[in-house]
Amino acid sequence: MVTPLGKSPDAVLRRIEAEDTGAIQSSGFDPNAFSCPVCCRVADFEPQPYASEAKMVRLMNRDAQFAVAAARLALEDAGVKVGKSHPAEEVGLFCATGLAGLPLSDITPLIEASADPEGGFDTGRFGHAGLKAVSPVLSFKILSNMPLCFVSINENIQGPNGVYTPWEGQGAQAVEAGMRALAAGDARCVLVGGCDVKTHELAFASLEQQGLFRSWGENGRGRPRPGGTPSTARGIIPGEGAVFLVLESAQDAIARGAHIYAKIAGWSLRTIAGGSDKSLVRVEALRALRLSTHLGAIVGAANGEQSRDREEKLILEAARHSAGVEIFPKKYVGDLFAAAAVLQLGLGALLAEQCGRSVLANCFSHGSVQAVFALDPP
């Protein structure tokens, strides 16, 4: 994984347990422009060490760079050598990607060159000057499937695949698709993951418009900043990163002597229809897992937004779930959106191995798709 709290899953888990946050004052743009003043950024990230060809990196958006790195780390951790330990065509790849992936700075030259003196869009200027102002490879940074394609090229993965967008629920769907591919015998092992970058101003604009920053201030934009310190965080903290997991059948994993973190004992994906009760849908998702009430650990979806935090607590109470350990990654890593579900699941797997008991990973999110996963120790 590549997250604002680091790349080592153990270290990330330890920092979350220690309530050590990656939230910082937003930078690279004027944070006063948005209701949310903070974000969780991946610091000092260099994609080159993970890319098999250096020139490929310049074609990648930041989310794809994260994806390539996280996928490489996951495969190395699993000891899967594509084309050697596993035939390339028998390795699957399913990935979720997010909205608004491109920073405004990437298209500013195009906007400038395409505007008339009054600031209106001029198709003539766009055709003659605007297109010349941007990189010809801009499309490779915009297309939602590109992170998956870069990972496949970088790792020579040739098996079944799919890309889903844009929220955490779609990350859960990528995991589901991977499990279906394994069950159907389409692949011997699958890499499932997500990547997202929500730390630039266009992403902030998108989140602001969708009302996700509402809890940062009653009056929305213009409210005095809370100072940006995590202890005062009152809402979603946009994050960035990528997380990939290697899934394979227990039989195959045991046969090749793999380190097994956890077994996915069950999952439930539910849809919140227009007008339906979100909490009820989430409770139904939990109940469908038929978990024992007392668990080893719960990886919660709470993100610091008071109403969301309270809702999850009530949902767990309604489903009568409790655990010795409860962690809430989004409060410290930030909300990784398309990558969030896979992070929840990955941390849940670590906890299952550590505590030797069943773990619940909640992937309650924006959008209509709500997911939960149950993990058993190996």
């Binding site: 004027d30 944070p31 006063n32 422009a33 390339a88 790849l93 990607t97 909205l99 608004a100 298209i107 500013t108 195009l110 906007i111 400038e112 505007a115 600031g119 869009f121 198709t123 003539g124 766009f126 055709g127 003659h128 297109l131 941007v134 010809p136 490879v137 499309s139 490779f140 915009i142 297309l143 499937n145 590109m146 998956l148 394609c149 870069f150 496949s152 090229i153 040739q158 098996g159 079944p160 695949n161 799919g162 889903y164 967008t165 844009p166 929220w167 779609q170 769907q173 279906r180 159907a184 101003e201 604009a205 998108s206 602001e208 418009q209 934009r221 849809t271 229809a273 959008g367 209509s368």
Partner: protein, 419 residues
């Protein structure tokens, strides 16, 4: 026991025609839907032609889907239109879709440059963007890629899984393939799957132009897309949508539904080669075809027709031809291979869904649409591409190929619906 899965409803809206009947009449007659663009002023762009769905009537659709009023992204409207048609065609309206999963393929977020033009010349871009948002009264700068899925889901009550597949040019085929797989495994008795796309806007057209994969033959729009022709220059972009109602054979029989075709197999693969080019020998493409045929429990000699991806770009058509030969061996030269994009243009995410509709209609009507504009065969593309005029078809299976930017591949096998 694995369920058999059949197609019982179709809906389609493209530049070649709106509605299954018109679309099929025009496609089999070899009528091109590619014209000079009218949806926006493309006069200063290097490419000024496209497969525009001129019959799309947004006003009419707004009456049917008032919750979508104000949507500016044409793929929303195209998708709503195709979905409404498909459900009406399946005569499945009025039933609850609570246990029906929905699979929607789309490609790019639509971003209107006129919305962000006021940012030009501003020193503090972030503040200018913030101010811009305040004036937009909640209207998004980009149309989220799951917007169509959510509108459809809420309108019809698809509450058993909503999937938004963004696998570029294979999104439609993957959406149908995943729906098929879930029904076959018994996860539901019905599913609706398809895709919608429109890249006929300045940013997308400009972006694709920069990649130099588009034909610039603006003076001869109808002849600009020439898959497998030696003089082909590149593809032509289009827009369109198609949705298919999939049901288990058991449910379709139980309710007396008309069956267009059976879905027999699905496969996907990755080139793992370059994001800029297809794998030149068609290895990745061949793998998806092989997987789909194996998934159908068929052998290559059971494939009777291919609805090719056939974009009309120099590299893609050669790679696909090699892939077909690799998979079908000597049979490759003996079966018809048709290229719908010669008439529709490249519909990106929705191309696979529209071509799935054409594949089902080929099986139902016994007609294969032609590959138009194929006048001078490329020596490297030496299969039977059904040039110029359509023809009769008596086969029992059609393989439909989709190959995407970045190296994603997917294929579906359809069988005759006379079960």
């Amino acid at each position: 026991m694995k369920e058999r899965v059949v197609i019982t409803g179709l809906g389609v809206c493209t530049g070649v025609g709106r509605g299954v009947k018109t679309f099929w009449e025009n496609l089999t007659a070899g009528l091109s839907g590619i014209r000079p663009l009218s949806v926006f002023d493309a006069s200063a762009l290097p490419v000024r032609i496209g497969g525009e769905a001129r019959a799309l009537n947004i006003q009419e659709m707004t009456r049917q889907f008032p919750e979508a009023a104000g949507e500016r992204d044409r793929k929303i409207w195209l998708g709503l239109d195709a979905m409404a048609q498909a459900l009406a065609d399946a005569r499945i309206g009025g039933v609850s879709f609570t246990n029906t999963p929905l699979f929607v393929g789309v490609s790019l977020e639509t971003f209107f440059l006129e919305d962000v033009s006021p940012l030009a010349g501003k020193e503090n871009l972030s503040l200018a963007l913030g101010n811009l948002l305040e004036k937009r009264d909640g209207r998004p700068l980009q149309t989220p890629l799951n917007r169509l899925t959510e509108i459809l889901g809420n309108h019809y009550g698809f509450n058993s899984g909503r999937y938004t597949n963004c696998s570029a040019c294979v999104a439609g085929t993957q959406a149908i393939g995943e729906a098929f797989r879930q029904l076959r495994e018994g996860a539901a008795e019905a599913a609706v799957a398809g895709a919608s796309d429109s890249v006929l806007n300045p940013l997308a057209m400009g972006g694709f132009s920069l990649l130099q994969i588009l034909s610039t033959e603006n003076e001869r729009p109808e002849g600009a897309c020439r898959p497998f022709d030696a003089t082909r220059q590149g593809t032509v972009l289009g827009e369109g949508a198609a949705f298919l109602v999939l049901e288990t054979l058991e449910q379709a029989r139980r309710r007396g539904a008309r069956v267009y075709a059976e879905v027999l197999g699905y496969g996907s693969s990755l080139d793992a080669y370059r994001v800029t080019d297809p794998e030149p020998n068609g290895n990745g493409a061949a793998l998806s075809m092989t997987r789909a045929i194996a998934d159908a429990r068929l052998t290559p000699d059971a494939i009777d027709c291919i609805n090719a991806h056939a974009t009309g770009t120099p590299k893609n058509d050669v790679a696909e031809t090699r892939a077909i030969k690799r998979v079908l061996g000597t049979r490759a030269r003996g079966i018809p291979v048709t290229a719908n994009k010669s008439m529709t243009g490249h519909l990106i995410a929705s191309s696979g869904a529209v071509e799935a509709v054409a594949s089902c209609l080929t099986l139902l009507t016994g007609r294969i649409p032609p590959t138009i504009n194929l006048l001078e065969p490329d020596p490297e593309c030496d299969l039977d591409y059904v040039p110029k005029v359509g023809r009769e078809f008596n086969g029992r299976t059609v393989l439909s190929n989709s190959f995407g930017f970045g190296g994603q591949n997917a294929a579906l096998v359809f069988g005759k619906g006379d079960l």
